[in-house]
Amino acid sequence: MISIDQISKNFGALPALDQISLALNAGKSYALIGPNGSGKTTLIKGILGLVIPTSGHIYFDGKSINRDWKYREKIGYMPQIGRYPENMRIGQLIDMMKNIRQDKPKIDEDLIDAFKLYKIYDKRIHALSGGTRQKVSASLAFMFHAPVLILDEPTAGLDPVSVELLKEKIIHEKRMGKLLIITSHILSDLDEIATEMVYMFEGKIQYNNSIEALKSETNETKLNKAIATLIRQRELLASITD
């Protein structure tokens, strides 16, 4: 569905992405992980067309996304920090988003109902807590039945009940055959919602396989342990070859 072909991105002299190739297919759920500054957000922004790669191409359904914007109607995006105009009401924000995607008459209001956002439609954004903003961001991302969902740290800052509600929704969407790309540092959450793992480090993809395969390779049952083992193995290998 999305194929990334040898993209590089430099910010000044610093390479943020280094010759990355990756194929992302419908029906799968990708966990994008890596330490801070490993290029996860840059990669996501590249897919969204917010960052233009220095070299390489990104194709969405076989078409290059360069200078195109129409393809984004198939993407629902939940940003890491949901900052909206401070004096806007939640209702206005939702209304504005609906207006942008007029061609989608059917609206998915599951999360709005689950988070009980309709009760606070009249509240202004500046009166909301960080967690509530996160709920608004999540609702907006899922609202338009987009076949691709990109979630940047979806569970950070949410209370445990809301985390469960959101996870349920994500699993539901995954079963519907959607493509999900999720970044998170909370690996126990990813364990339940992701099927594939893409591990990035210093702008390169270090590991790309299914989570099942990773677990059997490392003889671990939990994702966080498996990743820790993977990183240790890699470091050991690197020290030997040095």
Binding site: K45, R72, R83, E86, D95, I100
Partner: protein, 255 residues
């Protein structure tokens, strides 16, 4: 796009900055009315305040607003919508709210005192100045990712057009005072939107007689309909070129 403009516009109208700006203009205008009963003089005093304050407020507010809405713009760009539409929506929302604050702040007292006639030019040129400096501020905002740097560049535009340019102009006039400079200064004025606004207002106020021969020459030119059209279209150019450049940069920018 209309709905984005509408809601961003509502959002800006509720910010304290715009409220203070309106109140500041109201107080200034009322104060000048208290000082003098001659409408012409009130307009003249206001003009001096407007020429300094309007560009300054426009550049500072616009750059701060742009960087405060950075994440929001990012989210909008992740939607199926053209970058140009987002940019224009932001521009129109910021410009129209600042213009509204200006028109209310200056216009309301005049309406109250029943002096509608002499204020047309002041309102129109003030609105144009707002549009020009909002354009310039957007231009400086898209040039860099650093808020402080962007405000610095925007303030530099203000400083240049409000003070430095006039200094250079005066220097030229004094140094070459032996030569006939009318046409040259006329041309040089076209390169500064603040001077253009000032000349348009002064000549509509009919005090150009105080400016001697050059004043008469200007009156002849700017006072005519052709001159007015010429100067308004120049101001329009000053709105458009920074805006178009900014839009061009914005549509290829990494966010």
């Amino acid at each position: 796009m209309n709905r984005i403009i509408k809601y961003v516009f509502y959002d800006i109208l509720r910010t304290r900055f715009i409220l203070f700006y309106t109140v500041f203009l109201l107080i200034c205008t009322f104060a000048f009315f208290q000082l003098d009963n001659d409408f012409g003089k009130v307009v003249l005093s206001l003009m001096n305040v407007v020429l300094m304050a309007v560009p300054l407020v426009s550049v500072v507010f616009t750059t701060i607003h742009f960087f405060n809405s950075y994440e929001f713009i990012e989210l909008m760009l992740a939607q199926p919508i053209n970058r140009r539409s987002i940019f224009l929506s932001e521009y129109l929302a910021v410009a129209s709210s600042l213009c509204l604050a200006y028109v209310v702040g200056i216009g309301f007292p005049f309406l109250l005192y029943g002096a509608w006639q002499p204020i047309y030019t002041l309102l129109i040129t003030g609105v144009f100045l707002t549009l020009v400096f909002v354009s310039l501020a957007f231009f400086s905002s898209v040039l860099t990712r650093d808020k402080a740097k962007a405000i610095g560049i925007a303030l530099l535009f203000w400083f240049y057009f409000s003070l430095i340019y006039d200094g250079i102009l005066l220097w030229v006039v004094y140094t070459f005072s032996d030569y006939p400079l009318e046409k040259l200064t006329l041309a040089l004025i076209a390169f500064n939107p603040v001077d253009l606004a000032r000349i348009i207002m002064l000549l509509q106020l009919d005090i150009s007689a105080l400016m001697g021969y050059t004043g008469a020459f200007y009156k002849n030119f700017f006072g005519s309909n052709l001159g007015l059209i010429f100067s308004i279209s120049l101001l329009m150019l000053w709105v458009l070129w920074p805006l178009l450049f900014a839009m061009r940069i914005f549509s290829r920018k990494d966010l």
